[in-house]
Symmetry: C2
Amino acid sequence: MELENLTDSRIARPRRYEDGCGMAHALDLLGDRWALLVVRELMLGPKRFSDIRADLPGISANTLTQRLEELERSGVVLRQTLPPPASGQVYGLTEWGYQSKPIMGALARWATRSPGHDVAQNFSPVSLLLSFQAMGQPGLPKDIDATFGFRFGRESYVSWIRDGAIGAERGDASGADVIFTGTPRAVASAVYGGASLHALEAEGALKVEGDRALASRFVTLFPLPEKAVV
Amino acid sequence: MELENLTDSRIARPRRYEDGCGMAHALDLLGDRWALLVVRELMLGPKRFSDIRADLPGISANTLTQRLEELERSGVVLRQTLPPPASGQVYGLTEWGYQSKPIMGALARWATRSPGHDVAQNFSPVSLLLSFQAMGQPGLPKDIDATFGFRFGRESYVSWIRDGAIGAERGDASGADVIFTGTPRAVASAVYGGASLHALEAEGALKVEGDRALASRFVTLFPLPEKAVV
DNA sequence: CGGCATCCGGGAAGATACTG
DNA sequence: CAGTATCTTCCCGGATGCCG
């Protein structure tokens, strides 16, 4: 009796859309609630279950477990067991999963043109760094060659701009030409909301170290695309 | 009492993800079940309610109504009332909605690399034509300059290849250099499944008119990307 | 034909609590 | 820390019926 209700992880979930189109298959892979945001959180390197959960406010442990299982089964996510002493598990993207990055960037860029998009929301650390890469398309000034560090609570990230392109990864912020310390939201309010760095520092929302002129220029590098006229 | 449960269409649906990231907003716009496929169906020109529904087997009238409402409210879809004698309404994409096309193409291309993707499924007429545009990226042979007509039941489409690029729209197939008549699935089995045109014609699944050599070449132009190794 | 309103059943998501 | 168990709620799909 109970066996009929058994959901066996070895049995692939049935297709949701009977459709050979690649877009429909993309929805089978990433169309579940939260799935795309889980992938986003792994885009700058593997993370632990709790860290993903912490950066995705609103997701339940239950749902995150399920999404990670499905993404692993479909070959987008890879579960890795860390060697001691840092024992535990982390989830990362497969090579193929990682290749969705520019597409997601383009999608994000498209969506910011929505009249309903409000940039004064929360950003996760990863989503902020990714947004720089998305909004830095198609080109940044070629005369910049510098590194930028970000310290958000326990997580820290480094981004570099060179030859008109921008990269980013999780890592040590020390030694960067500019270091921002605060919340992703505070940085976003400077970059996207036009808030002044001085004001943010005055109210204690942000700390800026290093080359201040470079910092002031950094926040102007990522103009949002124009809103769509509807 | 009942008023508390009233869902007023004038009140915007609350954000589902409290997240300023563009990708999260994209999910607010297109993340609902079927939403992306509805947009896909409009990508080659406006369609009527029933025609959308007919090409999305499995969607309920109820859900389609709701998706169209939401997409219209968010500025992706535009509802137009046709003048007599063709009275009735059609749904089309806004300029901004239409601009998601290359992104969706890239997403579809990415998804076909999935080990779980099976091309031997149903295609809607629109999804087939769009798949040609997606798989024809980044380039087609520059020595082709021709038009291709497709007749799928009542709907017919025209596609043209020139200067290494491919375009498509709903329209009259007459006068094209090659005309395919049959089901989208039959054409897909030739283009993506390696089925021979002769065999398909022999079993009555497809009719090919016009330049047969060109038709034979056409079906080789859209190789699927390699499967991802996982 | 082109929808919209309503009720029903199933399943996925959320909240909370609990376990190794 | 990394999940599981349970309960509740909400969304989706199917069917039906109404209306212009």
